[in-house]
């Protein structure tokens, strides 16, 4: 446990700036998406076991905790996809290593441009489902 604490502390104080933060976020988002994936595949497989269980799970996914978790998933998935693309491209093109910081900032910009409307649309649908009139 102390090893974990010192790892977190050293990671946060290491002065690698954007590149280091993206490296950390790539790991955290990867682990988060994997956790969701395990729950998601197990949950959807319930249709093969019993439709009754499947229906109950689908209703459970429409509750606020899952709606909020889904927003975090959207950000994690989009970030991991775009940052992973940056990593793969830079590894294949050593001539671009001079422009690491530009690539890093460009990735942050693209993530923001894709994630912001995604999260807004999903949040709007959830707000309408929870507070919408008549339903």
């Amino acid at each position: 446990m102390s090893a974990l604490i010192s790892t977190v502390r050293a990671s946060l104080s290491y002065r690698g700036r954007e590149g280091h933060w993206l490296w950390m976020l790539h790991r955290v988002s990867g682990l988060g998406v994997l956790l969701f994936l395990i729950l998601h595949v197990a949950g959807m497989s319930s249709a093969f076991i019993s439709l009754e269980i499947h229906d109950r799970l689908l209703e459970l996914y429409k509750t606020p905790p899952f709606a909020i978790g889904e927003l975090a998933l959207a950000f994690g998935l989009i970030f991991h996809a775009i940052n992973g693309t940056r990593i793969a491209i830079l590894e294949l093109k050593p001539e671009l290593w001079q422009k690491q910081q530009l690539a890093t900032r460009l990735s942050i910009l693209i993530v923001a441009l894709v994630a912001a409307p995604t999260i807004l649309i999903m949040a709007a649908k959830s707000i309408q489902a929870f507070f919408g009139a008549g339903e």
Binding site: A3, L34, I38, A42, M44, A47, T85, A88
Partner: protein
């Protein structure tokens, strides 16, 4: 003062041990797999998320839709159901293995105790492979409309 003399032979302690050939091949294969599966998942996972989670939305989900898209167990499947099953099957396999290898890399960095690392990875791999198998079996068999767990025994 021999360490300051550039012409002195390097201390044997400083020579890095070469990585065993077998492990080197495995890591190279995994490195390649992460790139290719990542590229495939870029299209598969993002198209799935964009369609089901953003355009359709979780609040519209129902088991009727699952049956239409996926098909019932024991019934012949349509072309579109076959497409969805293959699409999800490839995605589940690639995503789970991509995640398992990513987890292995992260765990290797932080779990310094070899016994702890081995136990953790054995448990994680067992869980991930079991859920993957469950998902693939579900896709092959189809939706169970009879609503009874006993139907598996048929």
């Amino acid at each position: 003062m021999s360490t300051l003399n550039p012409s002195a032979p390097a201390s044997p302690r400083r020579v890095a041990r070469p990585i065993p050939q077998g492990r080197n091949r495995f890591e190279r294969a995994m490195w390649l797999f992460m790139r290719f599966s990542g590229l495939a998942l870029l299209f598969l996972a993002l198209s799935h998320f964009g369609f089901q989670h953003i355009i359709v939305g979780t609040h519209q989900l129902s088991s009727e839709d699952t049956i239409v898209r996926w098909g019932l167990a024991g019934e012949s499947i349509t072309v579109s159901q076959l497409f969805w099953r293959l699409y999800y099957g490839v995605m589940v396999l690639l995503a789970m293995l991509h995640g398992l290898n990513g987890l292995r890399q992260v765990a290797y960095d932080y779990l310094k105790n070899k016994t702890v690392y081995n136990a953790f990875m054995a448990a994680a791999a067992a869980l991930i492979l079991a859920v993957t198998a469950l998902g693939v079996i579900a896709l092959i068999v189809g939706v169970n409309a009879s609503g009874a767990v006993e139907a598996i025994a048929r």
